[in-house]
């Protein structure tokens, strides 16, 4: 037995082609190794903004998790954050519930009891109760829309009439299905919006659950006369959130929000434009040009592009032979980021990410520039044997990369707030520079 982690070089993968990706690099063919990245990728409630936190991004909402105890266990991590205090509740399923489905009958009463508990405790009454259900109900085929309607009806005529009850599906089983949990939860959230008059000077940025960082995108929109740039995370109240329905158009910054944007287009008549987070300043410029052309606004990005390019040049001057390892537990597509770093003139020794067919376009380009770059799959069982000593990197990017290479300086770059555009490039370069200098000191 070799006792070593399986990897392929970018050159080998490019030669095999998109339709012949080795089994070891694809998800679904193997047992899944427990690395930080797979916990985040494979478990919809484990890391960052999973379904639970996402559902609670609606202002003035609470969540009732109706599931076996195991599904709510790690919520302790989130519940300890001040913003989630008194917002998570649990209705634990038992074995008889599994057989009879009687837990569903208890939901309306449980919702009322929670609302009463909050009221009697002097807390404000939530506007929305999210009901989070998990794999068990996915398999039982529970009609949660009906259950939620029943709960709303149960509240009618009480002190809690008008409180909305909506389903959140934390179905890990459907992670790679047509409507994965993180797609579905976004649809649920924006389904709360109701039609209202349009405001030509309002725009929504949708996709994230924490605000965008201080990116130039907002500045360009403001310079174009947009007065209200709404993100769900910056809506302080439910009323403010509802005003998202008045937007002239939506900017979609995460493909997982595409289905929600489609829904809003059909139901609320809000068209959308999709923007991708990339780390190539040329690509960022093309994207802004396309945005300007579609929306009819002027975008002059000369200053911001120069600033980002300068940050790249500074890092290159300071560390001309910089070698990086890049993981996928980060605010980037690991393959796109690796390709951008190679095009900036750096070297990428190892990438830890699922080489899905949609990433193959990057793999091909990486192979052209750096055929020996090694590609590992975070989920593959032999990652248990990954040896840091094999790596030539001087710094790693991504929380998963730190897990594999704990002794190499790391920029985790997986903060809740989202970097975007030139700001993302500039700040990442600066962070890498700082981490390297700190390691030298």
């Amino acid at each position: 037995m070799k006792r070593e982690a399986i990897c392929y070089t970018a050159g080998e993968l490019a030669e095999r082609g998109k339709n012949n990706i080795p089994d070891e690099l694809l998800s679904g063919n193997n047992l899944v190794y427990s690395s930080p990245a797979t916990l985040a990728y494979n478990s919809p409630g484990a890391e960052g903004f999973g379904v639970k936190r996402a559902g609670l991004s609606v202002p003035e909402s609470v969540m009732l998790i109706v599931a076996p105890g195991c599904c709510g266990r790690n919520t302790s991590l989130i519940s300890s954050m001040p913003e989630y205090k008194n917002r998570f509740f649990y209705l634990e399923m038992t074995e008889p519930d599994l057989v009879t489905g009687r837990h569903l009958n208890k939901i309306p009463e449980a919702v009322k009891e929670i609302l009463t508990f909050l009221k009697e405790g002097g807390k404000s009454i939530p506007r929305v109760v999210m009901i989070c259900i998990t794999c068990v109900d996915a398999l039982l085929g529970t009609d949660m829309d009906r259950v939620c309607r029943k709960a709303e009806d149960f509240l009618a005529g009480s002190a809690f009439a008008g409180v909305k009850v909506r389903p959140c599906y934390m179905y890990a089983l459907t992670r790679e299905g047509r409507r994965p949990p993180m797609v579905h939860v976004r649809q649920t959230i924006y389904s709360l919006l109701e039609p209202m008059g349009k405001d030509a000077r309002s725009v929504n940025i949708i996709g994230g659950f924490a605000p965008l960082e201080n990116t130039e995108l907002k500045t360009y929109l403001e310079l174009a006369g947009i007065r209200n740039i709404r993100q769900i995370s910056t809506c302080g109240t439910y009323e403010e959130f509802l005003k998202m329905a008045s937007a002239n158009f939506n900017l979609v910054i995460d493909p997982e929000a595409r289905a929600a944007a489609e829904d809003m287009n059909k139901r609320l008549n809000i068209p959308y434009i999709e923007l991708t987070r990339v780390y190539s300043t040329d690509k960022i410029r093309s994207q802004y040009k396309a945005l300007a052309s579609v929306t009819g606004i002027d975008i002059d990005d000369t200053f911001e592009k120069a600033e980002a390019d300068e940050a790249v040049a500074r890092l290159k001057d300071a560390y001309p032979d910089l070698v990086l390892n890049v993981g996928e537990c980060t605010n980037a597509n690991a393959f796109e980021l690796s390709l951008s770093l190679l095009r900036m003139g750096f070297k990428v020794d190892e990438i830890y990410a699922v080489a899905a067919p949609e990433n193959f376009v990057y793999v091909k380009n990486i192979a052209a520039l750096s055929p020996d770059t090694k590609i590992y799959c975070n989920m593959e069982p032999t990652m248990l044997y990954y040896k840091i000593s094999q790596s030539k990197a001087s710094i790693t990017v991504g929380k998963d990369a730190k897990f594999y290479c704990p002794d190499i300086p790391n920029v985790s770059w997986n903060q809740d707030t989202r970097p975007f555009g030139y700001q993302g490039v500039r700040d990442l370069m600066n962070k890498i520079c700082e981490a390297l200098k700190e390691a030298e000191a």
């Binding site: 063919n29 919520t75 996915a138």
Partner: protein, 310 residues
Amino acid sequence: MKGLRKVLTPFAPDQSGASGVLYSMGALIVIIDAGGCTGNVCGFDEPRWHESRSAVFSAGLRDMDAILGRDELLASKIKSACDRIDTSFVAVIGTPVPATIGTDYKALKKLIESKIDIPVLPVITNGMKLYNEGEKQAYKALIDEFASDTPAYRDRIVIGMTPLTYGRYHEDLTLDDIRNIRGAGELIAASSSGIDACEYLGKDFKIVSPLYKDNIPEGIKGRTLVCHDEVVGKTIRDAGVDCDIATFFKLHDIAKQDGDKKITEEDEFIDLVRNGGYDTIAADICLRELVPDFEGRWVDLKCFAISGRL
């Protein structure tokens, strides 16, 4: 309402307990889930995961795998992993998914063993019971598969001193300990699951927590309610403290005295504290939120299975 939690988060489930027992034994551990349960185990309930790598894997089930009951695919995945990873046995741990689709664990064991040359231990957990049940199931499966009649082994083996009960003060068992457990000079049950395992072995044993033996937590004074694992409570009582035991986990008759209570709901704990006339509560500090009006003394008796604090 029964089963409704308004303050506390759920406690460690049975699958975490099973995984915790097996973690140190060199097994290839496969949690039969889609990923979320493994995320809970490794990302939360297994403090050793942050310090040392262990072969804990998710079966990576997808909806059609569960709907169609693709046990053959699961067995193939396990075989493929065994071909590439050194391991002495495979443990398959149940979750709500196999519980829902009615997985036949005996058949699954046979199917996997037909493909590989090492033993397969199914641990029948379902995510709806508490961690002590999972620990018990894991000990039983290990004993059934590996324990043999050894004439003499170590002087003493402590069973049930897992991280979920004892946090960083856990004491791991090895596979050799299990193989030779019948030959141990003395068996100590250090927790509820330890009592179950010792009873299952059918040998004499002592019930005592090595951590709290002759080591009464500082601050305990007067009439006390200890809310933790039953063995922790019993050990504190045996050290001379005037206390009742309340536990969210199992309470065996062998450890129970008048005044002790197995509790399940938040309200039961609140009632006990409000009406028990206790001077001191010795319990994980996270439980204090249930009884903010309690004016007595509170001794923080950490319990990882309750709060996840080490």
